[in-house]
């Protein structure tokens, strides 16, 4: 009997392993099958981002918006007459997994990469892509180093630019005289914004009275940081961090009866979609973002309504970045007449030239559209939004 049990458990374990392996295989062959089965040449665009893990909101938004853009492009006849195919891989906001995902996509035959979504993995993948001379456009990798190689461009603002713009916005609109900052020193996005913010603050009419850090291993208890900001008499707290921690800070500040103004960057976007989050805590929170879902121009409204219909969710700024990114790839490919039979390296060279010549009138663009410089940085104007009655409203 005892032996029988043992055999049974081994069999069950074996069955589980086989079952899992089966899953992996079938999903892989699913994507490659449709590629080889279609017969005609197509553009193979890879995507990488966190679909699971703590930053999943961003990866999921980018994935959905990229699919949406590609469906539109394909319905309208594709790029230079060729259809576009997407293979999107999960990296869980982890550099190592991101490089693995990149290699998976390379095996699949990727010709250009729209990714990755978050900064730390993006830097790792950018180095791989530079070695292969693979064209890469990150929708939202905002760290300076993300576009250090000349094959990489981005749609969003860089971290220093966000820090700079935030400091200028707070200063010019006289939002506060004493500012506290709570930032994640283990994260390149957050510390990048903070450094530039602190530098620019010297030129502005406010003073940083407390600069408190936390790390990824220590991101639950913010009572100390809040207490220090309170003791320093800060009337505005600048939060260049992601929304998960921001929601905790808002809650803990509320519990201790501290009610300053809060100001965030694009990482704060998503705070309203945290399940069961008491949105009244976020009332009055300001953030700098290039996209506001309630903007009244036709392009934004069309995008928002299609996105809602398809995915049942209001698109955030990451979705808009990805949507613009896909159209930027299209414009760059069309400007240089790229075809799918070109080598990866040739496509990259052509796209690099194309990117500097195009203007994309996208969702995140403002009135003058987005243009790119050869070092990969976009030129566009930032917008500030304020959370009112549980929704983003453009700030006047």
């Amino acid at each position: 009997m005892k032996n029988g049990k043992k055999i049974l458990s081994v069999l069950l374990a074996g069955a589980m392993v086989l079952g899992m392996a089966g899953c992996g295989n079938s999903s892989n062959s699913g994507t490659s099958g449709s590629a080889s089965g279609s017969g005609e040449a197509t553009f193979k665009i890879g995507g990488i981002g966190p679909i699971t893990g703590a930053a999943a909101v961003y990866g999921q938004a980018v994935k959905n918006a990229t699919e949406l853009a590609i469906d539109e492009i394909n319905a309208a006849g594709g790029i230079n007459g060729y259809q576009v195919e997407l293979n999107y891989q999960d990296d869980e906001h982890d550099a190592e997994k991101s490089v693995n995902a990149y290699n998976t996509l390379k095996d699949w035959g990727m010709q250009a990469l729209l990714g990755t979504v978050t900064s730390t993995p993006c830097i790792a993948v950018a180095n791989e892509a530079a070695a292969d001379n693979m064209f890469m456009l990150t929708p939202s990798g905002s760290a300076v180093e993300c576009v250090a190689n000349d094959n990489v461009f981005r749609v969003c603002f860089s971290d220093p630019n966000q820090g700079l713009a935030s400091a200028q916005y707070i200063g010019e609109n006289k939002l506060a005289t004493k500012v506290a900052v709570i930032y994640d020193s283990s994260d390149v996005y957050s510390s990048g914004i903070y450094e530039k913010f602190a530098e620019e603050a010297k030129n502005q009419d406010f003073e940083i009275v407390a600069a408190e850090a936390f790390t990824a291993d220590n991101n639950k208890d913010f009572s100390t940081q809040i207490q220090k900001a309170k003791d320093a008499g800060a009337d505005l707290v600048f939060l260049p961090i992601y929304y998960t921690e921001a929601s905790l800070i808002l809650d803990q500040a509320n519990k201790t009866g501290y009610a300053p103004k809060f100001f965030g960057c694009d990482g704060m976007d998503g705070i309203l979609s945290v399940e069961n989050f008491d949105t009244s805590l976020a009332e009055g929170v300001m953030l700098l973002t290039p996209f506001a879902a309630d903007a009244e121009d036709e392009a934004t409204q069309n995008f928002v309504s299609t996105f809602k219909e398809k995915y049942g969710d209001t698109p955030n700024q990451f979705a808009a970045d990805a949507y613009d990114g896909m159209y930027a790839i299209k414009a760059a490919f069309e400007a240089e007449k790229v075809t799918p039979d070109m080598s990866v390296s040739d496509i990259c060279e052509a796209a690099k030239t194309g990117m500097t010549s195009i203007t994309v009138n996208g969702l995140t663009a403002g009135e003058d559209g987005i243009t790119w410089t050869a070092d990969g940085e976009p030129n566009k104007s930032p917008k500030a939004v304020v959370i009112t009655d549980g929704a983003y409203k453009a700030m006047q």
């Binding site: 999943a56 850090a213 220590n218 639950k220 100390t224 207490q227 220090k228 069961n276």
Partner: protein, 292 residues
């Protein structure tokens, strides 16, 4: 005044660590294994309460009871399926199994609840305490956490005097001899896991009420910190878990407040190393000489 407020925050954080550390300590003391899945049982406890209150609108206190029941059953099942067959295997094999169970729980939760953080509605309805004209505010969560920690410690100490408690002590001293004296070792170890996991559910509720963000990874870092607290106080000792947890929480908060908010973890672990160098069994740990 702010020192007092830091101290109270430290004690509150430390109390959560202490309750989690109890689970580690009891299981280690009796089954001589490190149950690394403990932190993830906490997370499951949090999700049970979250789902029960937000989906079915259940009374929060009932939801906490439900969560204790679910976690207790889960703990017993994990022990029976994953650890009992390895009772006589090398400690390393059991350790790896525990890490495996931990990842299994995280990924099952990821599959069931998704990766998006959920905002946990605090089950604590105690009003905040306003002292010294509003300069010192102690939140209801802090009060409840500290009180529950003390109550649980007292209850466990009393439980150890009862017959099943004595059986636990006997098993922890010598499994073989306890069995010869008529103690049902398997039942005793199951009971240990049941109590440890039930406590994990309560710790989960308190953790999520104080820090209301719930993801499948919520339990892992507090779990590791609590494990450190258990080692700090002397693993296997119930008062040790309390003292270890409190000291850890207070050092963490005070070093954040007065030294550097970035270095707090380094300081916490540095103190741990010093304590272990001076007293390798932890603050209240007993030195057990190897029998020849």
């Amino acid at each position: 005044m702010s020192f007092l407020s830091y101290l109270i925050n430290g004690i509150s954080l430390g109390s959560v660590y202490a309750i989690i550390a109890l689970g580690y300590s009891m299981v280690y003391g009796i089954a001589k294994m490190l149950n690394f899945a403990h932190g993830d049982v906490i997370m499951i406890g949090g999700f049970v309460v979250f789902t029960a209150t937000s989906a079915t609108g259940m009374n929060p206190l009932l939801a906490v009871l439900l969560s204790v029941v679910v976690c207790t059953v889960l703990g017993v099942v994990i022990e029976k399926v994953a650890y009992r067959p390895l009772r006589n295997a090398s400690p390393l094999a059991v350790l790896i199994t525990a890490i495996g169970v931990s990842y299994l729980l995280q990924n099952v939760a990821l599959l069931m609840f998704g990766a998006n953080p959920k905002s946990f509605t605090s089950v604590v309805k105690v009003p905040a305490l306003n002292l010294v004209g509003g300069d010192l505010i102690i939140s209801g969560e802090t009060i409840v956490t500290i009180v529950s920690c003390l109550v649980i410690m007292a209850a466990l100490s009393m439980f150890m005097k009862t017959k099943p408690g004595q059986a636990m002590l006997a098993v922890s001293e010598d499994k073989g001899a306890a069995q010869l004296m008529g103690v049902n070792v398997n039942a005793t170890i199951s009971l240990t896991f049941a109590i440890g996991s039930g406590l994990a559910a309560i710790a989960g509720v308190l953790l999520c009420s104080a820090y209301p963000s719930l993801t499948p990874y919520t339990g892992s870092m507090p779990g590791i910190k609590a494990f450190v607290a258990a080692v700090f106080g002397g693993i296997g000792s119930i008062p040790g878990a309390l003292i270890g947890g409190l000291i850890l929480g207070v050092i963490e908060i005070l070093s954040k407040a007065y030294i550097s908010s970035q270095l707090s973890d380094a300081i916490v672990f540095g103190v741990l190393i010093i304590v272990l160098l001076v007293k390798p069994t932890g603050i209240l740990g007993k030195k057990i000489s190897e029998k020849v």
